[in-house]
Symmetry: C2
Subunit: 329 residues, 2 copies
């Protein structure tokens, strides 16, 4: 027992003084080195590019950057489940639009983004924010990914969790900047990523202040979208939530391009990274050179790949740079 | 010198152990007591209403709650100055709407809120966020309040600054929730209130991601408003920015009613406070019992006063509860 205590003490001390590897799931290479060098460049007071703690912001896309997005975004799976559940309770729903098309399309695997967005909005509107998030948590507790047969919240990329922890340990405020719904992610972000609700930037749906049955004020989710947090919407959402350019940004698809460009547009040291899905065996392969058909999940185009290479952004190869993908690997 | 050091050491220790008054500008009374009791109830681990640090949020209205709003909101003064400046540079502007009406109305002291809002939007749209904030800072450095002949950022209520510091020292995240523009307040919030840009919730104008002349991405301010952060918009804005109900909220007018109701709607200990402007000698008097005519500045109606009394909210009398108003008093 004493031996264990001494070991824990030594391990903590080593980690404290930087001797232990802060990114154990990363293989040595330019990607890992660039992260560690960036932290040194911005957090070491003697560095010319030192950033004071209150100005340290790093932004992370979620789907495909922090967790699995294939064969369908988790929020879309939730939404389809909810629509089907509603259509069982109210069979009339399954013959009216957009549900008819949606239910048909979900069977034919030919779902369009537009139909999905409509359904996502519909599935949540009219509920209070609390009801909605309770429903999301309830669903996440029982839903399982078809390939791994594990809860979606366990399909988090362990190397990226280590990056979040490493940034947090160095005084960075870590925000998730997702094209998905802000309220959806907030239901599980703290438990899953150690990122609290106020640091979640997502697609923002309108809410309406109302008095509930007991007179208690609640916020009701509405159909209208205030901000689509994807493509140009990402830097716009970052400005809305943070009001400053991040110093580091992580993404994996064309929807993250503008966030990375906005980050790169600041002075001093900036870190722009893109996760390339090139590991069909341990996860999926759908990078620019690959050909995994999917109509819905964000693509990493050849043009984005070229921009990354020309701009000095770092492309992370899941296959080469990560020695494990999930914590259970 | 040694004596001074010992004194500083003793003073710090006393403050650390709570013997020094954290609210020296507050007179003893129910308002001061309720703030101190609230902090004890939510921050003492043995309290039944203990709130873990990450869940501690307090929200503060700005105009009339943290700084002077008479005879006109500071942002409105900025905006009128900017419109007049523009109309000198481009005389054609002063004969077209809404500027003609606005310039006429500003002379006649009969300005309407609608004309003002239009002008505020116009005055900032088309600029990048950085240009706009640079302009705001430049203006704040030279503009002076007509009564005190001091910069607006010195007309901060010292007792409220002490409340912000006291909450921050007890692990609260302090947000400003203003009907004014989010980008306007962000230009000076950190220096003035020690509240950083990411904790500013205000009226949110749309921005547009664009590539500047040098190819560097910038966000351009647009005319469209995404969220009017006043009345029901305050809890809606709080949800957007924080995603949680605050435990304490401070306001001074009808525009803060729903924020206080939303705060009160949570369980455990909640603190709702309204600043009553009843001190015509040291500041202004325009509470429900007073009669200071003003078409633009938010009113504290008799109905809100009654709701506060019935709901156990605390009404702060500037006259009785504050022994100083400004730091220079």
């Amino acid at each position: 027992m004493l031996k264990i205590h001494i070991f824990i003490f030594l391990a903590s001390s080593l980690r404290l003084f930087g001797s232990l590897d802060p990114l154990p799931s990363w293989n040595p290479g330019p990607a890992k080195t660039s992260i560690i060098e960036f932290i040194k460049a911005t957090c070491d007071e003697s560095s010319p590019n030192y950033v004071p703690p209150g100005k340290r912001f790093a932004t992370f896309d979620q789907d495909g950057t922090l967790w699995v997005e294939h064969p369908l975004y988790t929020q879309a799976v939730y939404c389809l489940d909810r629509i089907l559940e509603l259509s069982i309770k109210a069979p009339k729903l399954s013959v009216v639009e957009p549900f008819k098309t949606l239910i048909d399309q979900s069977k034919s695997e030919n779902l369009t983004f537009r139909a999905l967005e409509k359904a996502i909005n519909f599935a949540s509107s009219g509920m209070s924010v609390e009801q909605y998030q309770y429903d999301v948590i309830r669903w996440l507790e029982k839903a399982k990914h078809p390939r791994w047969e594990k809860p979606y919240t366990e399909l988090i990329y362990q190397p990226m969790l280590e990056v979040i922890q490493y940034f947090q340990a160095n005084g960075y405020q870590t925000y998730i900047v997702t094209g998905g719904g802000q309220d959806f992610l907030r239901a599980y972000s703290e438990k899953t990523y150690n990122i609290p609700t106020e640091k979640i930037c997502g697609t923002i749906g309108e809410t309406e202040f109302k008095y509930g049955k007991n007179g208690k004020p609640v916020l009701i989710k509405k159909l209208n979208i205030l901000l689509r947090d994807n493509f140009s919407g990402k830097p716009e959402g970052i400005h809305l939530m943070i009001g400053q350019r991040p110093h580091a940004a992580f993404g994996n698809s064309n929807g993250d391009q503008q966030m990375l460009e906005y980050t790169a547009g600041g002075d001093g040291s900036r870190l722009m990274m893109l996760v390339l899905h090139d590991d069909a065996i341990r996860e999926y392969a759908y990078g620019p050179a690959e050909n995994l058909p999917n109509t819905l999940v964000g693509t990493f185009s050849q043009a984005l790949y070229n921009e990354a290479k020309q701009s000095g952004w770092i492309v992370i190869s899941m296959k080469k740079d990560w020695n494990k993908i999930f914590s259970f690997d």
